[in-house]
């Protein structure tokens, strides 16, 4: 005897009705329009990385790694990228890189403002929190189907799936970072007559930047882990290599794609981590960051002194 003997709720029918008969016919153009900016950024990045010759991309990434993660990471970057090129996965890797950068960019554009709002308003946080919980726990296969129905197949829908999966950490950590700014600093800023905007830009955001960068790093890692799944709905790149290998029981091909993802993941992880730590010690202006990017002298001792 269980409640199901009495009545079976047609939950699946309800969802089917909601998505197929209501969302898709009524809102498909709206969702289609949503992917326009994503496609735009993605295509631009993809063209860019396809245009820049492999050695130059490698050198730029090696320099970034050197600046933010030390000389060993720079060496790893060079060796790793050469290896990828030599197993003939360079263009796929660059496609994946464009997809990752696009997803992380949109995650930041959506996530940081939402995180800020959530930090400053308990109601927003109370509403946001369960949504984030759902986003993080719901298996991504569940939303792949409605995404295909609403957006179709291809790169942009793959990126949208990635954004849904990778968005929570940056919102959570932006919220956390801003809420954790010392209360006496907030009080000080208020006592000197700050407006809400001044409070945010002068005190809260700079002091939360380290935590926000940690969130960005997490988002990046999650985005990388979605590469293979996104390939299921038509996104290309390394994920496609893995999926093809899987379909043909081609262990070698799948492993090659996997190794490419791992190498890319390690390099991007270390660079963004280093970026976050650097920002915590000193808030560097955009100009200073750009200037120091092209300076080869390591800044390790300066950073230590300031810390």
């Amino acid at each position: 005897m269980s409640p199901s003997d009495l009545y079976i709720i047609p939950f699946d029918d309800w969802v089917n009705f909601l998505v197929r008969d209501w969302l898709v016919p009524n809102f498909r153009p709206f969702f289609r329009a949503l992917q326009v900016p994503i496609t735009l950024v993605l295509n631009w990045l993809d063209d860019f990385f396809a245009f820049v010759p492999m050695p130059i991309t490698t050198i730029v990434f090696a320099l970034l790694a050197f600046k933010f993660a030390g000389r060993w990471m720079a060496l790893f970057t060079i060796v790793g990228f050469i290896f990828i090129d030599m197993i003939d996965l360079w263009s796929e890797t660059m496609t994946t890189l464009s997809m990752i950068i696009t997803s992380v960019l949109f995650c930041a554009i959506i996530g940081i403002p939402v995180g800020i709002l959530a930090a400053r308003n308990d109601v927003v946080w109370k509403v946001t929190r369960p949504i984030l919980d759902i986003m993080q726990t719901i298996p991504s296969f569940v939303y792949l189907v409605p995404i295909v129905m609403l957006f179709g197949v291809g790169m942009a829908p793959g990126i949208i799936a990635t954004i849904i999966f990778a968005l929570p950490p940056i919102i959570r950590l932006t919220n956390l970072g801003i809420r954790n700014v010392r209360a006496d600093l907030i009080e000080a800023a208020e006592a000197f007559g700050s407006t809400a905007w001044q409070m945010l830009t002068e005190v809260q955001f700079p002091l939360a930047l380290r935590t926000i960068m940690a969130g960005l790093n997490q988002t990046l890692m999650l985005a990388l882990s979605m590469v293979v799944i996104a390939a299921l709905i038509g996104a290309g790149g390394l994920g496609l290599v893995v999926n093809t290998g899987l379909g043909r029981l081609d262990v070698g091909g799948a492993t090659a794609g996997g190794v490419g993802i791992v190498i890319l993941a390690i390099i991007l992880d270390r660079i963004t981590q280093g970026l976050g730590e650097q920002n915590a010690v000193e808030t560097v202006s955009l100009r200073a960051t750009l200037a120091s990017l092209f300076r080869l002298r390591p800044m390790a001792d300066e950073t230590k002194k300031a810390g």
Binding site: D184, A191, F192, G193, T195, V203, G307
Partner: protein, 425 residues
């Protein structure tokens, strides 16, 4: 005398509908009873005071006494449950958010217990924070920040980070940040509480030195009665959100309002509270040209003193003791002006009216009365050595007059030599 800051019937109730607690307070219920029955916490009750322009008003209380709540109401960081807080004509308790922001930007600034410096900014940027918020241009901002840092002796550190500085230096930056916007009122919330004792003492002295030139209206919060007594032109002792006593350092030490205050006062160094003028007697000086040794002896016997000062016109000529006079009298057989001259001790101890008793121990131990002089070196009073020790041991002297400020000394002092407190007035 103008009141810069007027606080009228201010109450602060935490935790819900304040009217419940306000009613009960009116019926005379205590803070504990109200908390037990309603769950409301009485932060501050019936705060009613004025702070004169240029005065240091110290609020002293232990943790939980409501002093931090009180100071935060003065710049609107905490809204009072009822009452008015007037800075000039702006009521901080009820004005619009925009008006409040203007008041904070232009009239009132704050120094915090744990410094609250921004770790991501340099010292100069920290000092310039208030100016940046006000929208002052970068060049002028830096110039004024450097000027403020100069005042606290930290201009050389302008481009360092707060983490490079010691606690005392960080609080100087906190002070510079508070001063840079040139506010009229400075709120200081236990500013020296987190510093070690030697640095704290140094900072107290520095604040007093700065105050001589700045003449800001300062509300200073502390849990240290000694600090309150050293700094305060007026002191309020706070307990359970209520002012137990408000008065000058000397009033609080000599006439504690209740056992609570008395318990605090018991441990303090009275020598650093009372000044020479508080124990000074009328000079009752002799004139070198006109008074004879006989007059001198008669005066001493009448006044029950062992020594008297001798003036030559307005100038102090020296001091004569009963012992020397009688000894000389026996030798000469007759008393005259020559004798007065003969026994005159010209190496006499002197002090100004604001000197603390603690600094008079040395002079007092010589046994001679100490001359209290004004800035033109005229005798305005004398301090008998026993009066110093009687005040220190908190005993009223036998004739009962030495704890009173002699009328002559007092008027001469306020009229001709305004003290620090006189300045404030």
């Amino acid at each position: 005398m103008t009141a810069k800051l007027r606080v009228k019937d201010v109450y602060k109730i935490f935790g819900g509908d304040p009217s419940l607690a306000l009613e009960r307070l009116e019926r005379g219920e205590s803070k504990e009873e109200i908390f037990a029955e309603t769950g409301l916490t009485v932060g501050v009750q019936d705060a009613d005071f004025e702070v004169e322009e240029g005065q240091i008003f110290v609020v002293m209380g232990l943790s939980g006494s409501g002093k931090s709540t009180l100071v935060r109401m003065l710049n609107g960081l905490i809204k009072p449950s009822s009452g008015a807080i007037l800075i000039d004509d702006d009521d901080v308790a009820s004005c619009s958010a925009d008006r409040l922001r203007q008041v904070r930007r232009n009239k009132i600034s704050m120094v915090f217990q744990h410094f609250a410096l921004f770790p991501h900014r340099t010292i100069a940027e920290n000092a310039a924070f208030g100016l940046k918020i006000k929208g002052v241009k970068p060049a002028e901002r830096r110039e004024r920040a450097l000027a403020a840092l100069e005042q606290v002796g930290l201009a050389a550190w302008a481009d360092s980070r707060p983490s490079d500085l010691s606690g005392g230096m960080q609080q100087r930056v906190g002070l510079a940040r508070g001063l840079a916007t040139e506010p009229q009122i400075l709120l200081m919330d236990e500013p020296f509480g987190a510093l070690d004792p030697l640095i704290r003492k140094e900072m107290q002295e520095e604040l007093l030195t700065l105050q001589k030139t700045l003449k800001k209206t300062i509300v200073f919060i502390t849990h240290d009665l000694n600090e309150a007594l050293i700094l305060g032109d007026r002191i309020a002792i706070m307990k359970d959100g209520l002012f137990v006593q408000v008065g000058t350092a000397q009033e609080i030490v000599s006439e504690p309002a209740d056992d609570y205050v008395a318990a605090f006062v018991a441990d303090i160094d009275r020598g650093r509270v009372f000044t020479a003028e508080t124990v000074a007697d009328a000079p009752a000086a002799l004139q070198l040209k006109t008074d004879s040794a006989e007059d001198a002896i008669k005066n001493m016997e009448d006044l029950n003193r062992n020594a008297l000062y001798v003036l030559d016109g307005d100038e102090i000529a020296g001091v004569v003791t009963y012992q020397d006079l009688t000894a000389a009298g026996r030798e000469n057989g007759g008393a005259n002006e020559a004798v007065l001259n003969e026994v005159l001790i010209t190496e006499y101890p002197s002090t100004d009216p604001d000197t603390h008793l603690a600094d008079l121990y040395g002079s007092a131990s010589a046994g001679l009365p100490i001359a209290v002089t004004d800035e033109e070196n005229r005798l305005v009073g004398v301090v008998e050595p026993q009066a110093v020790f009687a005040q220190l041991s908190n005993e009223v002297t036998p004739n009962g007059e030495s704890v009173e400020i002699p009328e002559t000394a007092k008027t001469a002092d306020t009229a001709e030599k305004p003290s620090r407190k006189g300045d404030a007035a």
